[in-house]
Amino acid sequence: MKCRSFSGGVHPSIAKELTQDIPIKVIPIPNELIIPLSQHTGAPCKPLVAKGDKVLKGQKIGESEAFISAPVHSPTSGEVVDVKPHIHPLGQKINSVFIKPDMKDEWVDNLPKVSNIDDVSTEEIVKKVKEAGIVGLGGAAFPTHVKLSPPKDKKIDTLLINAVECEPYLTADYRLMLEEKERILIGIKLLLKGLGINNAYLAIEDNKPKAIELMREALKKITDINLVILKTKYPQGSEKQLIEAITKRKVPVGKLPLDVGVVVQNVGTAKAVADAVLEGKPLIERVLTVTGSNIKNPGNFLVRIGSKFSDIIEFCGGPYEELSKVIMGGPMMGIAVSSLDVPVIKGTSGILLLSKKEVKYNEPGPCIKCGKCLQVCPMAFAPSRFVEAGEIRDYDQAMKDNISSCMECGSCSYVCPARRPMVQWIKVVKSQIQKKSKEKK
């Protein structure tokens, strides 16, 4: 099969060998779980429990009436010790449910189990996915049931399963494919049924030959799901670039994948969907990669949502040297956290600990107009123009240049020889544009 890809992009060192051969381990239940009531794109949940309540594993503890939202569940059994704002990995304080586990790990009663996937209807799948609080596990955490309920006038014909994992360091999706192949395939079938279509592509980068071999073997008998091997290049896993590479369709500026008839789901999400439909299991745990040069025992771990970063780092043997930067996610788009008290949320694909040497600050120099940011921009923007627009506060020009379609993949900042903080400027300009448009209203 030929390798497909997109134009632009960068080749950062992959750094996956740190963890790619380490099987997924289960991290035991910590002494405290902190479950933020907003872990997804969309409306935050209202708490369904109060201080002093006893909760069971899988019990719904937060919910919202809004369509674009996802409920949250208790990751284990125990007692609610508090409901109060707590620092969230994204930086701000978010209302969170504090649970003290009783270590019995008791499930809620009568979870709706299904033994044959042919027995569930399309509507049931969407409902179960929604009830289980499943969101995209690739990082953006967009509620999955919303993607499964496209507006009537949009005709979906293709499902893309994103197993690209183009961020350096991260190997959680890769390990999941090696260890949970069956569940993933069931999940993809359920997603297809949920969309009422029969055409899926499973996309893997060519630097994961083991996973490709395994999936190729498994997909021999399944006609609905096709394997696509993509060139190893960042950001291959970006939705629009993935859609173009596989279907040759270009998502127009300001539009969504469903406007070109495509739904993209992460491979881990497919696994979570299978768990939710077959066992009625809500999204209360996930696999993530703990890695970097400043952690003694890196690896891939099955972690309860709400586990504090500090507990996970301690379980992994702690850091080699004084901590300098701790990142939620990968090094290209991940978020540097300000405290180790932040909990793992549904979108936490990894915890990356970089050493002092690696995070050395480089004073940005003047733009030397080398044009490298243009060459690598997968959206064919001129990122240096956004920076200029930011510096002279010409936000209208930036808006005309479609800055809002920038997904902040970081390729421009990565290649900039003058170390100009491109993404930072883009974020500033975007937020200023938002502020201005709000003022107008």
Binding site: I327, P331, A336, L340, K369, D401
Partner: protein, 311 residues
């Protein structure tokens, strides 16, 4: 988990890793790439070349250092771009030029060519070529008298002057091989196509320059000369085409940032070079061709912005 108070986590925007290449490393690579041509100039033009190079370096670095002191700006010498300008400026001078003129030109290069625009990244024109253009207008006699190359190790350099091969395109007798190796009259760094090619390949290999501008520049000179019935091989090897195409037209700051723009820029430089050579008052056109195209860069960039994904 109780951490020591001193343990503050660094929080900043993604991405958190960067490519190894920096402005300094790029400039360093350009200096390295210019070394073969510098050695060749010393080999062919002897002590005169060394004097021109030394004075130019002192003039350029000194001007930038003093400017930073007076304006109370952080010292920008460490970005090495002044050294690149110094070498390139020296490369487009004849080895026989009196040193005060070199000093004057190098000050003009850095001060008028770069610093008054705001320093590295803000200048519109190639600083080295600005210096050369000013010298050309001030002392045309000295700027167009080139000593005949001699082998310094075999004795003194022949003080007889000769015209650059370009001055007499039809009648001059330098062989292609002499032109390729640099054994002919001309400015310091422009004569040896071989040495310039070695440097250019190094820059391509290091990911500093792309082939777009040099290829279109040299290619256009070749084709356009052929059309005007001038020996095309002679046209690209004699004079400053290789030096200009590989090292001056590719200057990031003064060339387009878009891919299409680079091609237009290269072709424009090539056409202008041949036109000036054929119909202009000077024997050589590379310098003015590049300067003219430098002026068009903002316009070229404006009209060659790539089509945004999904529009």
């Amino acid at each position: 988990m109780q951490q020591k108070d001193s343990n503050i986590l660094i929080v900043d925007t993604s991405p958190h890793i960067f490519i190894g290449q920096t402005t300094e490393s790029i400039m360093r690579d350009v200096v390295i790439a210019l070394i073969p041509a510098a050695v060749a100039s010393f080999f062919f033009f002897g002590i005169g070349a060394l004097i021109v190079l030394t004075v130019s370096i002192i003039g350029c670095l000194g001007t930038e250092w003093i400017f930073c002191l007076i304006t109370k700006r952080p010292n920008t010498l460490k970005d090495t771009s002044a050294l690149v300008t110094a070498l390139l400026f020296a490369f487009c001078l004849p080895s026989s030029i009196p040193w005060p003129m070199v000093l004057f030109g190098s000050v003009v290069s850095i001060l008028i060519g770069k610093l008054i625009f705001g320093g590295l990244g803000f200048n519109l024109f190639n600083p080295a070529l600005v210096g050369r253009a000013v010298l050309m207008a001030s002392w045309p006699q000295e700027m167009t008298t080139w000593p005949k190359p001699g082998k310094i190790f075999l004795g003194a350099v022949d003080t007889l002057t000769q015209a650059t091969p370009l001055a007499d395109l039809k009648g001059y007798s330098a062989s292609y091989m002499d032109l390729f190796l640099g054994n002919c009259g001309g400015s310091l760094g422009e004569t040896s196509a071989l040495a310039l090619l070695i440097g250019g390949l190094y820059l391509v290999f290091r990911g500093v320059i792309e082939l777009k501008i040099p290829m279109t520049f040299i290619g256009t000179v070749f084709v356009f000369s052929f059309i005007l019935k001038v020996d095309p091989i002679y046209s690209i090897l004699a004079g400053g085409v290789f030096l200009g195409a590989i090292f001056m037209a590719t200057d990031y700051v003064t060339s387009p940032i878009t891919s299409k723009g680079k091609i237009i820029f290269g072709i424009g430089c090539g056409i202008l070079t041949v036109l000036i050579r054929a119909y202009g008052g000077f024997p050589e056109g590379v310098c003015y061709a590049i300067l003219f195209m430098n002026g068009l860069v903002p316009l070229i960039d404006k009209f060659t912005q790539p089509k945004i994904f999904g529009t």
